[in-house]
Amino acid sequence: MTALTGAVLAQNALSAADLPQIGAPAIEYGTLSPVLAITATALIGVLVEAGAPRRARFGLQSAVAIVGILAALAATVWVSIHDLGKVSFEGTDLLARGKTVAEGALVVDGPTVFLWGLLLVFALVSMLMFAERGLEGGLSGFTGQAAVAPGGAGEREATMAGIEHTEIFPLAMFALLGMMVFPASNDLLTMFVALEVLSLPLYLLCGLARRRRLLSQEAAVKYFLLGAFSSAFFLYGIALVYGYSGSFTLAAIDTAVSNQIAGQNLLLAGMALISVGLLFKVSAVPFQAWTPDVYQGAPTAVTAFMAAGTKVAAFGALLRVFFVGFGGAQWDWRPLMMIVAVLTMVVGAVVLIRQTDVKRMLAYSAIAHSGFILTAFAGAYEGSAGTATITSVSAVMFYLAVYGFSTIGAFAIATLVRDGGGEVGHLARWAGLGRESPVLAGVFALFMLSFAGIPLTAGFMGKWTVFSAAWSGYAWPLVVAGVLTSAVAAYFYVRVIVLMFFADPEGDGPTVAVPSVMTSAVIAVTAAVTIVLGIVPGPVLDLAQNAGTFVR
């Protein structure tokens, strides 16, 4: 009986010859080394968590994270020198450099490498803020035990025993890994996986603040629920675009879109849903509602990391999907993106004026800045060969660099203005900070001026580049709206400066904590970059311009 069944099975069974040949995938380990370095760093972090004694863990974890990021930065420089050969693709003679790797799942081209460098530098600076232990009496700014009830006896015990969550470092590394893969994805599935890898650790990190834990947990839940919702939109959009084009890869989608291979309804619906997912991540209006709550509730170091890093990753992905995948349908999406850009700038700037909390203020500032970046995106100026006019991609990348440094610096200063209950969020309590600590208030004023876009700060150069790209793309209404909303927002930023230097302190006024060398370094570096990029933007601008367009 068994022999008979076996014989029948053997007759019907597929042999290896019937199957399509599956070869081993070719992975370009050298070109992917920055990503692999961060993966290894995250895994080593998990193993340190499992193996190292509790006392040594915090120092070891921060060292692992920082060394890992430095290694990845070195690898990124190596990749930018060795693997960015010029390529030309049919139809245009625009500058593009780089290649697709990992069987077409990822593409390492000029913009990818520029964004990798940016992300790694932001992560390095943020890790210094994560590692700061000088502000909470020798403990980090993260909760000792996330599982115990806020304000309960367990929390006091954990604080007394000096217990700390050191998982924050591997979690941040996994988020960084997702951020690096997100703008480098060459197909929509990889992009979705990267989106989840970048989001999930951030949801968790948001809920780990040491002070005001209920607010922090609320922020985490809100971010998680809304983020999961937007991921679902993104995924459904991918499904519809697959239904339209029959492929996940951006190049194949581009071919399908350009040839208009099927009815446009599927494509339009798919594009709309994908843009919901991406615009949520960059906190563009009308998907910005989560931003102020999450930025306020999350531990400030996480907010800084998230504000700079997520924005870089999400804008990189947004540009790649819409310029490469949906470039042929730009007359369908550009009008909509223009409306979103104007709405984002106006809502961000107008609501900004009414803010009374520092972190919420920086959140609305982040929304307004997303609007400014979206002007260059909606302008969609791809450049023409032989001219030096700045392209949309370069303008966005330069703005991301400028904005990221200023915002990390501003959040770093927000961690230092404290009273007995932790950070002082209320802006009225910042009155008279200029007398308490002129240097700190001066640096914060510098960041405010940069946000406002005053000449000789990096913010001015950033605004100039994005508006220039929007202008070249014939999106002049956006430039007008951008300049007007900049003026509105500048009013608020200047008011903060006036408050710090010319208002009388309320009661005792806030005290400025003396940080360890970590946070001091963060503030010094970000302030220096903000000034240098304002006065000599040339080198970084050249880097952004030389990155060229996306490789398909």
């Binding site: 081993a24 998990v46 499992a50």
Partner: protein
């Protein structure tokens, strides 16, 4: 290259199966309902819980440890799903396949080591 109407028409068989399925289940339950005698008593209306009288409410709290175990189980169950297609082709690919799968399993093992060292696997 399909027109929109053809594209949707290809889903018609799915819709038919769905309708047939619903009708079949509804028909069987409905016929049962019409044919059987109905004499409810209090004991018969109790929730069936393996022959034991039910304890407490339907909404009961369970130990959070179950969740972690389930979580670990699901990870390794999904891992096994990936092992099957790998087993089909690994002779053809050779050593590269062994290394790649070792990397993949190693990733998950790191997570398990972390769970074990943090005391998740200790029941008491």
């Amino acid at each position: 290259m399909l027109a929109m109407s053809d594209y949707l028409a290809s889903y018609a068989s799915v819709a038919v199966i769905l309708i047939v399925g619903v009708l079949l289940a509804a028909g069987m339950l409905g016929a049962n309902r019409l044919l059987r005698p109905q004499q409810p008593t209090a004991a018969k209306l109790l929730t069936y819980e393996s022959g034991v009288d039910p304890v407490g409410q339907g909404w009961a709290q369970s130990n959070v440890r179950y969740l972690v175990y389930v979580y670990l189980y699901v990870i390794f169950a999904v891992d096994a799903v990936f092992l099957f297609p790998w087993a089909v082709v690994f002779v053809a690919i050779g050593w590269a396949a062994v290394v790649e799968m070792a990397v993949f399993v190693g990733f998950i093992a790191v997570g398990l080591v972390y769970a074990w060292r943090t005391g998740v696997l200790r029941w008491t």
